[in-house]
């Protein structure tokens, strides 16, 4: 049996594969074009961004402390969550305290990671995703398959069907009509909610400003009419100073969607100003660990530089062939193949230990990474970790016994010779009927296991002793 990613890729419809491949190839090309048009040496920028992020995570304790102090000073309330459960409870506590029954959410991988939506729904709090792609994912009870383009795997016909099914209008495949319908439907949700939940792309330790980028304007709309704003942010999202944001914002928009800047880039460090009639009266920041502090002490710590642009997904031949859902985890593609086995601690390894194997190590992901993460090196490190921990990745029949034999020369030799017994077994009397029937019409070739070894050993010139 092939490994799970290979199996998923085999079962994937050609239509979906083509959609993912096309989108990945197109964005990859546009990314190169805009970077080369705008900068003399874009690679120098990527290296600089990598160095700044590496410095930040190497001093994460002091920067995190500084960010906490800056945010608190500006009037935001800062919370810390060790794991997914703690983060969910923290968000719930804030919502309950303000008696919020309905929340609007802008796209956030961190809340995806902690599976916030199903939890809040279970607690009786209506939770509405507002990014168009995420909204479609939500009504379809699907999961995003790309960091930036969550419905890269969906055709417009599927979206039209979902909209019809959920009473959002007659069947219509025109993307503009679909978008307008979502606009009308969602603005009612924004206006009737009590809180807006967002992620955070960066946090400046210096000023405490959290940076939120969206093209649709949904993060802004999630905040403007609401009393409470909650931002769930991974502890690694910090950068030292406001001025460093120039490096990251320039690279993020160009790497993710080939734009000079994402349409709405917001810098927020507290509730609305007293003179402003619309906007949150409370701002809460939930810093999420969920395995990050563990990763920081291990050999793949550079993965914490990641700014979630999706460029490595777009360029990866395996991702383009298999699509994001093949990786089974919240994060797919090259970044996911490293991050998924590491995040969430012991539960993720060995569960996702096979993901690092889904790579030809071609190095394309490293070449496009805006923070210069040596992803291929990490894939190798994780493969080695899997081997050391004795994770037999082909875990099911018939690959598991084969893997055992293939990794032990003694067992292999013995099996090859022992299987000669098959030549003398009465196959027509096989104990299982279907097998007996099948064998009844066929004559198996003679088992010659071990012959090659013997030949190789005795052939003149092949054996060192000969």
């Amino acid at each position: 049996m092939p490994n799970p990613i290979e199996q998923y890729a085999r079962d994937l419809s050609e239509e979906t594969r083509e959609a993912v491949r096309k989108s990945g190839a197109l964005t990859t090309g546009q990314r190169v074009e805009i970077l080369q048009k705008d900068y003399e040496d874009p690679d120098a920028l990527r290296r600089l961004a990598g160095e700044i992020k590496q410095h930040t995570i190497d001093h994460l304790d002091s920067y995190l402390e500084q960010a906490e102090a800056s945010l608190t000073k500006a009037g935001a309330k800062v919370h810390f969550a060790s794991d997914a459960d703690s983060a969910r409870q923290c968000v719930l506590g804030i919502l309950q305290q303000s008696d919020v029954q309905r929340v609007v959410k802008s796209k956030s991988m961190a809340t995806e990671e902690i599976h916030l939506n199903p939890f809040l729904e279970k607690q009786g709090i209506e939770t509405v995703e507002t990014d168009l792609g995420e909204f479609i994912i939500q009504i379809d009870e699907d999961t995003p398959s790309h960091i930036v383009r969550p419905i890269i795997h969906k055709k417009r016909e599927e979206v039209a069907e979902s909209f019809e099914k959920h009473g959002l209008g007659d069947y219509n495949t025109d993307p503009e009509t679909i978008t307008r319908r979502a606009r009308v439907h969602l603005r009612e949700k924004y206006m009737q909610s009590g809180a807006g939940i967002t992620g955070g792309n960066f946090v400046s330790a210096e000023s405490g400003r959290i940076v939120l980028v969206t093209n649709e304007g949904n993060a802004r709309f999630s905040m403007a009419p609401n009393k409470v704003h909650i931002a769930v942010i991974g502890i690694e999202k910090i950068v030292p100073r406001d001025r460093d944001l120039a490096v990251f914002l320039n690279l993020l928009a160009r790497s993710a969607t080939a734009q000079q800047l994402t349409v709405y880039t917001q810098f927020i460090k507290g509730p609305r100003m007293p003179s402003q009639p619309s906007g949150p009266e409370e701002m809460h920041v939930v810093f999420l660990d969920n395995g990050r502090s563990q990763i920081l002490g291990e050999s793949c710590r550079e993965i914490l530089r990641c700014i979630r642009c999706g460029a490595c997904q777009n360029v990866c031949p395996v991702y383009r062939h298999a699509s994001g859902h093949a990786y089974r985890a919240v994060y797919g593609g090259p970044i996911g193949a490293v991050l998924s086995p590491l995040l969430g601690g012991k539960a993720s390894f060995p569960e996702y230990a096979d993901l690092p194997k889904a790579s030809s190590l071609c190095g394309a992901c490293r070449e496009v990474c805006p923070v210069d993460i040596p992803i291929p090196d990490m894939l190798l490190k994780l493969r080695h970790k899997g081997k050391k921990q004795g994770v037999s990745t082909p875990g099911s029949f018939p690959m598991a016994p084969f893997a055992t034999l293939a990794t032990s020369p003694t067992a292999w030799r013995t099996a090859m010779t022992a299987a000669r017994a098959m030549n003398y077994l009465p196959m027509k009397l096989a104990p299982i009927k279907p097998l007996r029937d099948w064998l009844g019409d066929r004559t198996l070739p003679k088992w010659r296991g071990g012959d090659f070894r013997r030949w190789l050993k005795t052939r003149k010139g092949n054996n060192a002793d000969a």
């Binding site: 920028l45 060790s82 168009l132 002490g297």
Partner: protein
């Protein structure tokens, strides 16, 4: 705060495993500037070029705004009280009504919103909105058309300079680079998702 202490403890323990830490690199902010975007005659020309390239509508005359609103067939909009005097008469003449109080119950009725911009970035074609310049966030966000009125002195050349000039008292700063947009469905670009589908920037001399 058990989680806070536990996280800091784990972070510090993990940092002991790393090799002392990389230094914060020193860099020249001019290396971050997309110079080919700044080849025009002046700040406004560069802004207009880059803003136009992302479907923004740069305008320099009040008359341009009036004819644009007329061509869009609007009749009712929101306007910052501080700007009403400037717009009221000219819009009234063509039968367009403006109000200076944003009524949340009527969020769908405002066909356009006129508010002040705190600045603009030439390099990227970005309009800067802040809590103190925007009379009502919703007035700049919910209408299909947003008109940001920009004092000429507030034009900034680069992203780096814009970051350096952040007012520490502003809790919310928004950069809007063109109208709201998405490419979620099959990568096809659609403008006007949740925010404005038309973003105008009127230079006020």
């Amino acid at each position: 705060m058990p989680d806070r202490d536990a996280i800091f403890k784990r972070v510090r323990t993990s940092l002991l495993q790393s090799s002392g830490g990389a230094p914060l690199p020193d860099y020249d902010p001019s290396a971050l500037v997309a110079k080919p975007r700044l080849t025009g005659a002046g700040l406004w020309e560069n802004f207009a070029q880059n803003f136009g390239a992302v479907s923004g509508r740069p305008m320099t005359e009040l008359g341009e705004v009036v004819s644009f609103l007329k061509s869009e067939g609007v009749s009712y909009g929101y306007c910052d009280l501080a700007l009403c005097e400037r717009f009221e008469t000219v819009l009234d003449e063509i039968g367009i009504e403006i109000v200076s109080t944003y009524d949340r119950e009527r969020y769908d009725d405002y066909q356009f919103g006129i508010t002040r911009a705190a600045g603009a970035i030439a390099e990227t074609g970005t309009v800067i909105l802040t809590d103190s310049s925007t009379s009502d966030r919703l007035g700049a966000l919910t209408p299909w058309i947003h008109i940001a009125v920009l004092p000429e002195a507030c034009l900034i050349e680069t992203v780096g300079e814009a970051l350096a000039s952040f007012d520490p008292d502003e809790t919310t700063i928004i950069w809007a680079t063109g109208p709201s947009k998405t490419a979620d469905i099959e990568g096809i670009l659609i403008e006007g998702v949740h925010g404005p589908g038309e973003q105008v920037c009127l230079l006020m001399l």
